[in-house]
Symmetry: C2
Subunit: 459 residues, 2 copies
């Protein structure tokens, strides 16, 4: 490794695809993360964290495309290591490693950065934060209800705190979908190794519904080896026929699946899960609909699958998604650990709030500043600031600049009030109060009631 | 890149030097991070974040030892990239890149993981979280006071919330120390290129005081080329003579530095900063003492330097440290940006709380669980859990296991109360309440007042 000269100036620049979060972007991210944690904790989900780096062997093997995007290198001990690509695989490793001490069902929240060396596009970054909630160790309708409930409540709390309005969670089921494909497109068979045909091809085509529309999806389906045009049309009609509530018409689905008892049991479970989750969440937490067109890609899911979109931003895509899987830690343990869970993309959610115009432009945590007119009033200024801070009023204080520059700074920071103190205020135990919006100033305010006064003004 | 087989079992293992945070470790970390953020926000420090990865050129050049520990590799675009080693250098790059839009003085909090490929020792990890607070763009006594004040308050709030007792912040000054070295060890001169002698050698020797004691440090000092035994003794005596408050005796220091006006001005500033900061913080926030033996290593610092230790754990070392520096972004910009700041090692602080026996063993966020005796009471159980959650009572719910297993789970999770519901409770709108500690159960509790009842019990 060559040494870099300490004297030559280096151009300060971020890596392509990475971004900084200055205060005005960070305030909303932290607020959202706080709400996620608080809402999850209320439902008994405990937070965990795992390292950024893992053995490459732990992370790789998730598919060729994914493997290519993993940041991978040799560490100082010549170990083949990699930066985590998502939170799911490290979590599987964590559960595999700690299964002896964890208490199941294990309800966990994990929030953290993940890294993907993918081609950058507008709004896509190579580092982003995921918020994952999962319930491991139990396969039950109750766990499905609990996971839909916690995501609904988390999103309701986040969106509610920004006045960002209603959202809809569409819930499908992969067992039911698979049974429908077998019945209506009997010729396509299972997923061929590495190919795009078979059932996998059907799922991939269905995932494009929102993007390209039913006609084009029908053509894609009909082109799959073993499929027919009539079968493709029948499948789409079965999936897309809605009942009065806007859900896939499950009465028709049951008729179509007559005789397939395992599939019919899954339809019953799906109906029940959505009904109870709707009751659990109540009106505030958005709408739940059954939507059997939700396919969610590849081999992973084995029960419910779900995606949440904001009603005001139908084109924005999902801000939350997940589903049930049979065996979280199958690569690490022979013990079967069924689970249900999902992921909120923090940055997508924040971007949605921004696109909906719901993020206030705040760069500062304080609303009030104590400005210092004379050097002999520094002690007094700090005492006043301390009183405000200890009363819970976020307060800035002048730090040795000239008074005029302090007031300019307060203006640029967007502070609502400036309390100026000099020798006479110090001696009289008062302050001069300036309302920044109007420019109005009131002299000789008594310091004794400063916290109560400012709290009242800021309400 | 070779593909990993999906079928062979992989041993689930972390990389050496990295650790997971299961709920029982994560609860306290998050709580501490929350208190840091809340306390910092009250004083007007705004949070920022920068990426984990930077151009290697940005991060390297901080010294041979440091450079060796940086995780460095080629990314997908063949760029020479590295994982951040601390938060200071990325922050300098951030300020250099954004100096046109930032408002100065810029008061920032940054919390995040840093990575160092160093040899692992007990209690040292290759990934750990730093919490940095800095004020950039102003060189003033007020900024020094503000930084000592915010760290004091943050630590007081963190330690106070765990009942972890008193702490002491020792404040030195590098200008004063340097002037004392010039006067009392005139022969040693400045820092020789890459060597251990000169003023740098003196600082390194002084940093060992707590570890090896005054006699051995005196011997190290006397051995520095150009130093004398008498000079070494005089320097140590000047630095270590205490006044009645336990601070370095500044009256004696002033006498020693007679005639050196710039150094005397720094002594005055140091006295004033510590006096005002003491007033600002009040009794709750720990003791501030002047301690001119605080050297803090190498070339970086140009004014106050400080280190905080817990009074109950004098041997544990510092949990917080920092100082004033002249030019944060000197490698990135010709604009001079003076600053003052420091860093709390989150993991060291948590370790200190643990060592002091102050961290409660909590693995769960909930305290209450609704257990479900019959399948027909699932709706009712979720309704009861929802009522509790929406009233702010963190509540878990049975997820489809047999009732006996649900109660075992509640016991292992350490829940205080289990509310059991079955068909008859559902019909009567009641629940059976079991206090887990005593095993006592009360039947037929009315659901109507459930939130108020549980809140009262948990108080």
């Amino acid at each position: 490794l060559s040494n870099v000269s300490k004297n030559a100036l280096i151009e300060p620049r971020r890596l392509k695809g990475f971004r900084d979060y200055p205060p005005e972007l960070m305030v909303v991210r932290r607020a959202v993360m706080d709400v996620v944690r608080r809402s999850a904790a209320l439902a008994g989900f405990a937070e965990i964290a795992t390292p950024a780096l893992e053995y490459a062997q732990t992370l790789l093997g998730q598919g060729e495309e994914t493997d290519k995007q993993v940041y991978r290198f040799k560490d100082h001990g010549d170990r083949d290591v990699a930066m985590r690509f998502d939170l799911t695989v490290p979590f599987a490793r964590f559960v595999g490693e700690n299964q002896g001490t964890l208490v199941f069902p294990f309800k966990k929240l994990q929030m953290g950065e993940v890294w993907r060396g993918e081609n950058t596009q507008k709004g896509r970054y190579r580092e982003f934060v995921q918020c994952d909630l999962d319930i491991i160790g139990v396969d039950s309708a109750s766990a499905d209800i609990e996971i839909l409930g916690v995501f609904g409540r988390v999103l309701a709390d986040v969106l509610g705190s920004y006045g960002a309005g209603a959202f809809t969670t569409a819930v499908g089921n992969r067992v039911v979908l698979s049974a429908l494909i077998k019945r209506l497109l009997p010729g396509v068979g299972g997923a061929p190794e590495g190919g795009a045909g078979g059932e996998t091809g059907v799922l991939i085509a269905l995932d494009k519904l929102a993007k390209i529309g039913a006609d084009k999806v029908k053509a894609l389906l009909a082109a799959i080896p073993g499929a027919s045009e009539a079968g493709a049309a029948a499948l789409l009609q079965a999936l897309m026929t809605k009942d009065a509530k806007g859900s896939t018409d499950l009465a028709k689905i049951k008729a179509t699946l007559a005789g397939d008892e395992p599939a019919l049991a899954e339809v019953e479970r799906l109906e029940r899960v959505v009904a109870v989750a709707t009751n659990v969440l109540g009106k505030a937490a958005g709408r739940l609909v059954v939507d059997l067109t939700i396919a969610r890609g590849l081999a992973y899911y084995t029960g419910i699958v779900f995606e949440t979109t904001l009603d005001a931003l139908p084109g924005f895509g999902s801000v939350c998604s997940g589903g049930r899987y049979n065996d979280l830690a199958s690569r690490f343990s022979s013990r079967e650990l069924p689970g249900v869970g999902g992921s909120i993309g923090l940055d997508r959610l924040v971007a949605a709030l921004e696109e909906a115009g719901k993020v206030p432009a705040a760069r500062a945590t304080a609303k009030v500043m104590v400005a210092v007119a004379t050097d002999d009033s520094v002690d007094y200024a700090f005492a006043l600031a301390t009183t405000l801070r200890e009363s819970g009023v976020p307060t800035d204080v002048g730090l040795g600049q000239k008074l005029g520059n302090q007031v300019k700074y307060a203006d640029r920071m967007g502070y609502a009030y400036v309390l100026t103190v000099g020798t006479s205020e110090r001696d009289a135990k008062t302050y001069a109060l300036k309302e920044m919006k109007t420019g109005e100033t009131k002299a000789d305010q008594p310091a004794a009631g400063v916290a109560a006064s400012l709290k009242a003004l800021l309400q």
